[in-house]
């Protein structure tokens, strides 16, 4: 088997296992928030810090990669926004927008190390730092304006949450440690590496536990559009911008794969809390997660030439 298939089978196997655990009530629905909190707030920051701080990153390659990735998400925001004239209600539009913009970086992180090596894993990790704030700001603004909720967000609180986001802090701390040559070995590096090892399996299980196949039937035409935006248009945009910025080899393939990742569960949370179409969002996350099993290897093959 090729390395992409070798890496994807366990990833999607663990996602399926998470779904089975929740459906069979071996780990009941109400128990998953604790698992999510531990994964995203403690283990994932440790993984990002550990990966970035120890990586051998060529600055000349990381710069264009990060600029292309950031511009690609902004471009997806513009493309998704262009669908505003469609005759759909505001909440549905916000979910379409989130579907086009949000990405599940954790599937890419799990794929990056076995397929692209430690440098690929570090580039994938670094991409969180500039993209998490940009994506969150775009989505919060759109859902605030066109969502159905009367509850308007406290923008200072949103900004505060972005600044104190553990993922962003971990990326920046890891980059600083890498640049200064700190914590390359020793107890801090060992402890972060040990704690970080659990992040991806737990997050993949949580992704599986969150899948809702009944939601796929809701608004099929809009769902088809949002899935196409995520798994067809986004990879093309990321690939095109990669070529434009002169990326090649591993960096170009990784950037394209970033575009082909499934939708993120965070989109469902925002839609539920702020008046988006949560059902459409749940269907989008479920459908893109399943279809990414085919889309990711396809786009990696396209970008790899």
């Amino acid at each position: 088997m090729n390395p992409v298939a070798d890496a994807l089978i366990p990833i999607f196997g663990v996602i399926a296992l998470g779904w089975v655990l929740r459906r069979s009530r071996l780990v009941r629905l109400e128990l998953w928030p604790g698992i999510n909190r531990l994964s995203y707030q403690a283990l994932l920051p440790a993984l990002l810090f550990s990966t970035i701080s120890a990586a051998q990153i060529e600055g000349a390659e990381a710069g264009p990669f990060l600029i292309a990735a950031t511009l690609a998400f902004l471009a997806m925001g513009a493309i998704s926004f262009a669908f505003k004239p469609l005759p759909v209600d505001g909440p549905a539009f916000t979910s379409l927008f989130q579907g086009g913009v949000r990405w599940n970086g954790f599937v890419l992180l799990a794929l990056a190390a076995p397929v692209f090596g430690s440098e690929g894993a570090a580039l994938a990790s670094l991409a969180f730092a500039p993209t998490v704030p940009i994506i969150n700001v775009m989505c919060v603004v759109v859902v605030t304006i066109w969502g159905a909720s009367d509850r308007k967000p406290d923008m200072a609180r949103v900004a505060g949450r972005i600044v104190t986001n553990p993922l962003i802090i971990a990326c920046l701390a890891g980059a600083a440690a890498n640049a200064l040559g700190w914590f390359q070995t020793g107890p801090v590096a060992d402890t972060a590496a040990l704690a970080g090892r659990a992040a991806l399996p737990l997050i993949l299980l949580a992704i599986g536990a969150g899948l809702d196949f009944s939601a796929i039937k809701a608004r099929p035409a809009l769902l088809a559009l949002s899935v196409s935006l995520k798994l067809v248009v986004a990879p093309l945009v990321f690939y095109g911008l990669g070529l434009l910025f002169g990326l090649e080899g591993m960096a170009l393939v990784l950037l394209t794969a970033m575009g082909a990742t499934p939708g993120a569960a965070a989109a469902y949370v925002l839609a539920s809390e702020m008046g988006g179409d949560a059902r459409l969002m749940a269907g989008h996350v479920t459908a893109t997660t399943v279809l990414a099993f085919f889309a990711l290897p396809f786009w990696i093959w396209v970008a790899g030439g």
């Binding site: 196997g13 403690a42 399996p201």
Partner: protein, 303 residues
């Protein structure tokens, strides 16, 4: 004590401390750990055990001898624990005391031996773990069931339904048949198993309950002495008796001095037994083990 031992123990106990810190600080409050603990007991620990046992080369005669010594050690500890529970008239507290004495923490043992002796020691640790976990899980479930007054058939059914017993049997079966050579089966289990270690260590830390150490001095002290004094003495004694040295002796010494397995708390909760006392015993053995296990490792490395 050498820097090698310190370097092996520090990250492991640091992760346990982080687990305690994030729970005690309220960053991840106690209620949210219920899901993590359920995932641990029903998936992560069994997956980790299956991965360890399925992948180990147990055909080596040295592995067979080590497995037999590990089983003898567990039986000696079981005898000591039952004797102590009887002599001290511990009654319902007998179950957690016996479980604490016999069911040592195999996850911590694997992590520490791997740090100390390198990955080449993996088959030896697996040989120590296989009988230790199987005997420990059977004794743990059996003792809680018997203290509750369950009939022998019901006790047997509870033992056969325990996730750790099932995982140990599946792991050994997979080892014998090569069942997990198929990537679609092995891949997900290995990915989950690889992430299990830190979550289990964090959960151990989050489960530490210092308030549970107040009162009940007799059962708490009995459990701690059995696990942290008798345990290393028995296992190191067996290593000397069978003339073992190197990674084999280290694996036995760490297994003997490891704290009790945190999942006995889940078993106590399943049986609606005294979870407070069980939490106290786990906490006390973690603290004692932090002091005793480096010493046990040092002695084993000197053999």
């Amino acid at each position: 004590m050498s820097w090698t031992i310190l370097g092996a123990f520090l990250p492991v106990f640091a992760v346990i401390s982080i687990g305690y810190g994030v729970r005690a600080s309220g960053y991840l409050p106690r209620g949210l750990w219920r899901g993590v603990n359920a995932l641990n007991h029903r998936l992560l620990l069994p997956a980790f055990l299956v991965t360890v046992l399925a992948g180990a080369d147990l055909s080596d005669p040295a592995a067979g001898l080590l497995a037999a010594i590990s089983a003898i050690g567990s039986v000696i500890l079981l005898t000591l624990a039952v004797g102590a529970a009887f002599l001290l008239r511990l009654k319902t507290a007998s179950a957690p005391v016996i479980a604490t004495a016999v069911q040592w923490n195999f996850v911590l043992t694997l992590a520490l031996v791997s740090n100390l002796a390198g990955p080449e020691a993996a088959p030896l640790v697996a040989a120590v773990v296989a009988p230790g976990v199987l005997i420990g899980a059977v004794v743990t479930v059996g003792s809680f069931a018997m203290v509750q007054g369950a009939r022998p058939a019901a006790v047997a059914m509870r033992i056969l339904r325990d996730p750790m017993v099932i995982a140990a049997l599946v792991g050994l079966l997979a080892n014998a048949t090569g069942l997990f050579r198929a990537p679609f089966l092995a891949g997900p289990v290995e990915l989950v198993g690889a992430g299990a270690l830190p979550v289990i260590l964090l959960s151990m830390g989050a489960g530490l309950d210092f308030a549970a150490l107040k009162g009940r001095i007799l059962p708490l002290t009995t459990a701690a002495v059995l696990r942290c004094v008798a345990g290393p003495a028995v296992f190191l004694g067996l290593a000397v008796l069978f003339n073992l040295s190197g990674p084999a002796a280290v694996a036995l010494a760490i297994a003997g001095a490891a704290p009790s397995a945190a999942f006995i708390y889940a078993v106590a909760a399943d049986f609606e037994a005294d979870t407070g006392l069980t939490a106290g015993m786990i906490t006390l053995t973690v603290l004692c083990s932090a002091a005793v296990s480096p010493l046990a490792a040092f002695l084993a490395l000197s053999l």
